[in-house]
């Protein structure tokens, strides 16, 4: 009877240990400050918005999609994504890119766009005609 609990306990400890280890290994932090993004070689999820003035480029030869992204403090960085422009990109209110910063730009392996329709509250600026 005792053995059962020791055996079970050992499995639980092993399981939680493995999960904890993998949790720290595969965890990705959200980062809304781009100076932190640029100073780490870890994979992060950078959140910010697309800099519309600088437009975006679709490079058909290398099949990359690149644009500039700004954080809330106005820091900008170039983002290059292996793939094409995601659905809803032009109208996205904010963008979350997953990847890492190296060689002077952010290598994104995933882009998530947030649709502004859900944020209708602050859509219109108050500049009466």
């Amino acid at each position: 009877m005792k053995n059962k609990y020791i055996f079970g306990g050992a499995i639980i400890v092993l399981f939680l240990g493995l999960m904890g280890y993998l949790f720290t290994q595969s965890n990705i932090k959200y980062e809304s400050n781009f100076s932190n993004v640029m100073n780490t070689d870890k994979t992060v999820k950078a959140t910010g918005s697309w800099v519309k003035d600088k437009n975006y480029q679709i490079n058909k030869a290398s099949r990359t999609f690149s644009f500039y992204m700004a954080d809330e403090n106005g820091n900008q960085m170039k983002v290059v994504y292996d793939g094409t422009i995601p659905n809803n990109f032009e109208t996205a209110k904010s963008v979350v890119v997953t990847g890492q910063y190296k060689d002077g730009y952010f290598h994104a392996r995933d882009i998530l766009t947030k649709c502004p329709s859900k944020y209708e509250g602050d859509k219109a600026k108050t500049s009466g005609l």
Partner: protein, 801 residues
């Protein structure tokens, strides 16, 4: 207004039902009938409220904020009906509606089983009360009027005539960055409109409509099924608490069993349909991304399925009297299934996930957040409070004739392993709460060994007897199945080119399960068909696992440029882009691709279109289903190279009054050509642009390159000055700053080098072996659940000795 009143009265009835049922439980006479009447009145009122919501959606009553936000005139009836659950308010309403209906069946079921009804319905009505508070005017009321909170409505959604009203101007706002104008709808505007005798419904001509990603066939099916699963999870919770109220843990196992099985079956089906929707719609080629919203419905399902296994043991071990084994485990699992459904709602609707999920849910505000916390907290305290209170009486000694090789222990281990999987998904999904996020590898690496264990365990446990099994006996019985699955896996390695050790093990364990279950199923078919449930479900889940291996590990993907009428090879198929044609009233374009292999010819047509909803390019993949594999073609872009030709030249950016020298000419941006505001505001055709003075070789020219909107199209009209050999086209113009970008080029020279335009369609093509097993496996599993339900339903009636 009517809807809100109906819901408020329903809330009152729900409270009365709860009180009356509770009083009856406490021994009061004559209160039971009031409880029943109150419950049925509540359910009927909820159905009435839902009908009202459907009615206002179908009749386009845009004075309701919800109707304006999630529907529009052009939606087909099917989608109008589905827009019921397009937003948060409506999905709570759907949950409430389905819970109320489940309650009608539950009341009838429990009333035939002794004093069960009093306790079960007391708990169940607590849940309906919370849901009714959620949709009450305090929180997420689908019947809120549009003016109660200020909202900006695009001018194009307003009935045109009313814009000319003199006092209207003070409600018009414009957004500099997009150039759009809005009407600010508020109580002030409502007062003005009412004074002028204009109803808001007349004033607002159209709604915002559904997000184009929701305009999919499955939008009409998946949410109701998923929410039925959610609603049914309330039942095992109610049974568990009811058992603790009576301090009797014997009958509830048998009585709740059909409900647990049916709930798990329906929730599983709902989750699968969500996956299929993602596969068919999103275009990335997969069906499961470990997205927090998907995960949060998977967690309660895993726990619910775990409870199926331990409930079975408890029921079996009750044979010799006593409450049976794992009584506490079962109570915990049944309580947790519902708590996790509530937690799922909290994660996806409280705004805490924020940036983590593709299902971008809006932050509902602090009040709703707090209410959700109270909702979960109440049920958590109720469930676990009762459990702690009754803990001692649950410590009934069970004869410990446990053997490692017994089916009880194998089933218990299955529940543990499923719970472990649920914990993994729970931890990963909750990571955003502490500002972290988990990569897909976290889930995959941890769940892969679990899936292997589940397969082996399932196969072995069925060869085990209930009490204990002789080791040698087991070995002898399992040799044929092990041999068959070994040979099958070996053939996958040799002919299928399977190399990764984890996949090999997984394939082996899944095929072992199938062989054992099929073997037993065949024996059963000759005997009692009702016993088939578990075996069918296990065959289903194992087929699903094989499908997952095939479609993930052996999927090939390639990006390719398809030039019109020029075939290209991929995975042994010849793909040819043959042109495009408009579909669905010219709102979308289908791009036809011919897929050929030998004699066989198929056509697939991925779709691309610009959505009115968000002005974004939307792409829909096309799937060619070929029994053993899918060919999945996702469009990336289409280029007829006409743009490139017109746009050859130098980029120039100017503000009003600035000048520059290009191509030997001096260009001055003299004046911004304003669009006609009233026309632009009503969504009509307009033009805007720039007035330029171009000087070359001593001559001055006055030109106006403009942006023209005709119907749905925006066209940049270029200007040519033949004498100066210059061509100017607008590239971008910002109406608020009036800054313009031009492309300046030569007319001659360009025509000489002009290329014949080529139409190029860029696609991501992939091949998904055995993906049909993913869907059919789950469907078989669900069928298994329902075979089991029919058997357990009969057993639940038998009065225990």
């Amino acid at each position: 207004m009517a809807g809100s009143i109906v819901l408020s009265v329903a809330l009152a009835f729900s409270l009365i039902a709860m009180t009356m049922y509770f009083l009856s439980y406490r021994g009061y006479k004559n209160t039971l009938n009031y409880g029943r009447i109150a419950y049925h009145s509540m359910a009927v009122l909820v159905i009435v409220a839902a009908t009202i919501l459907w009615y206002v959606l179908l009749t386009h009553q845009y004075q309701y904020h919800y109707v304006y936000s999630y529907s529009q005139n052009s939606l087909k009836t099917g989608f109008l009906i589905a827009s019921f659950w397009g937003g948060q308010e409506g999905s709570f309403m759907l949950w409430l509606l389905l819970t109320s209906i489940v309650g009608i069946f539950l009341q009838s079921y429990t009333s035939k089983r002794g004093d069960l009804e009093l306790r079960v319905m007391t708990v169940f009505t607590l849940a309906t009360t919370f849901l009714l508070i959620m949709v009450s005017p305090l929180f997420k009321n689908p019947f809120a009027y549009i003016w109660t909170e200020p909202i900006f409505i695009p001018v194009k959604s307003i009935t045109a005539g009313f814009l000319n009203l003199p006092w209207m101007q003070s409600f018009v706002f414009s957004d500099g960055s997009s150039g759009q104008s809005f009407i600010k709808m508020s109580t002030e505007l409502y007062a003005k409109l009412s004074a002028a005798g204009i109803s808001v419904n007349q004033f607002i001509a159209d709604g915002k409509g559904l997000n184009p990603q929701l305009l999919n066939f499955w939008m009409q099916i998946h949410p109701p099924i998923l929410f039925t699963g959610f609603s049914m999870s309330t039942v095992p919770f109610s049974f568990a608490v009811a058992a603790m109220m009576k301090n009797d843990y014997k009958d509830w196992v048998r009585q709740s069993f059909p409900w647990v099985l049916a709930g798990a079956g329906i929730l599983g089906l709902g989750i699968m349909l969500g996956g299929y929707w993602a596969y068919e719609m999103l275009g990335w080629g997969g069906y499961w991304a470990w997205d927090p919203v998907e995960n949060s419905s998977l967690i309660p399902w895993l726990v619910g399925v775990a409870s199926v296994h331990t409930l079975l043991v408890q029921r079996k071990t009750q044979g010799k009297g006593g409450i049976g084994k794992y009584a506490k485990t079962n109570l915990i699992l049944c309580i947790m299934t519902y708590i996790l459904v509530l937690y799922s709602t909290f994660l996806t609707r409280s705004g805490v996930l924020g940036d983590a999920s593709v299902h971008s849910f809006v932050d509902p505000g602090m009040l709703v957040y707090l209410f959700l916390v109270i909702f979960i907290g109440t049920f958590l305290v109720l469930g676990f409070g009762m459990l702690i209170y009754r803990w001692k009486s649950l410590n009934e000694a069970v004869a410990s004739d446990e053997n490692i090789l017994s089916r009880d222990l194998a089933l218990f281990t299955a529940a543990i392993v499923l719970t472990a999987s649920a914990i993994i998904v729970f931890v990963g999904t909750s990571a955003p709460l502490i500002g972290q996020s988990q990569d897909k590898t976290f889930y995959n690496q941890l769940n892969l060994p679990i899936a292997i264990i589940i397969g082996l365990l399932n196969g072995l446990s069925l060869l085990l007897k209930w009490k204990q099994t002789n080791g040698q006996d087991l070995l002898r019985k399992s040799i044929p199945s092990l041999t068959i699955s070994f040979l099958f896996t070996l053939s996958l390695i040799i002919f299928g080119g399977m190399r990764e050790i984890m996949y090999i093990l997984l394939a082996f364990s899944a095929s072992f399960t199938i062989v054992v279950n099929v073997d037993i199923a065949i024996k059963i078919i000759r005997g009692n068909m009702k016993m088939l449930g578990a075996y069918v479900a296990h065959i289903g889940i194992s087929l699903f696992i094989l499908g997952v291996i095939g479609s993930n590990a052996y999927s090939q993907e390639t990006d390719m440029d398809l030039i019109k009428n020029q075939p290209k090879e991929a995975f042994g198929y010849k793909l040819t882009f043959t042109g495009y044609h408009p579909v669905e009233n010219n709102t979308k374009y289908a791009f036809n691709i011919q897929v050929e292999k030998g004699e066989k010819k198929y056509t697939v047509s991925p779709v691309m279109y610009i959505s009115d909803f968000n002005n974004g390019l939307m792409r829909e993949p096309a799937i060619l289903n070929l029994m053993t594999k899918d060919i999945y073609v996702s469009p990336l872009g289409y280029d007829d190279q006409s743009q490139d030709q017109a746009a050859e030249g130098l980029d120039v950016k100017l503000n009003v009054g600035q000048k520059t020298n290009v191509e030997g000419a001096r260009i001055e941006y003299t004046e911004f050509v304003k669009p006609d505001m009233s026309v632009m505001m009503s969504g009509g055709d307009f033009k805007m642009g720039t007035n330029l003075t171009v000087t070359k070789d001593g001559k001055t020219y006055n030109v106006e390159p403009i942006l023209k909107k005709t119907g749905r199209d925006f066209i940049y009209v270029p200007v040519e000055i033949a004498e100066a050999n210059i061509k100017i086209q607008l590239k971008k113009i910002d109406p608020s700053s009036q800054t313009a970008d031009f492309i300046v080029g030569k007319i001659k020279g360009e025509t000489a080098t002009s290329k014949t335009p080529k139409e190029v369609l860029t696609v991501a093509a992939s091949i998904k072996p055995f993906i049909s097993l993913v869907w059919s496996g789950i469907l078989i599993m669900v069928a298994g659940f329902f075979v089991a339900v029919s058997r357990r339903l009969r057993e639940s009636l038998i009065k225990s000795s």
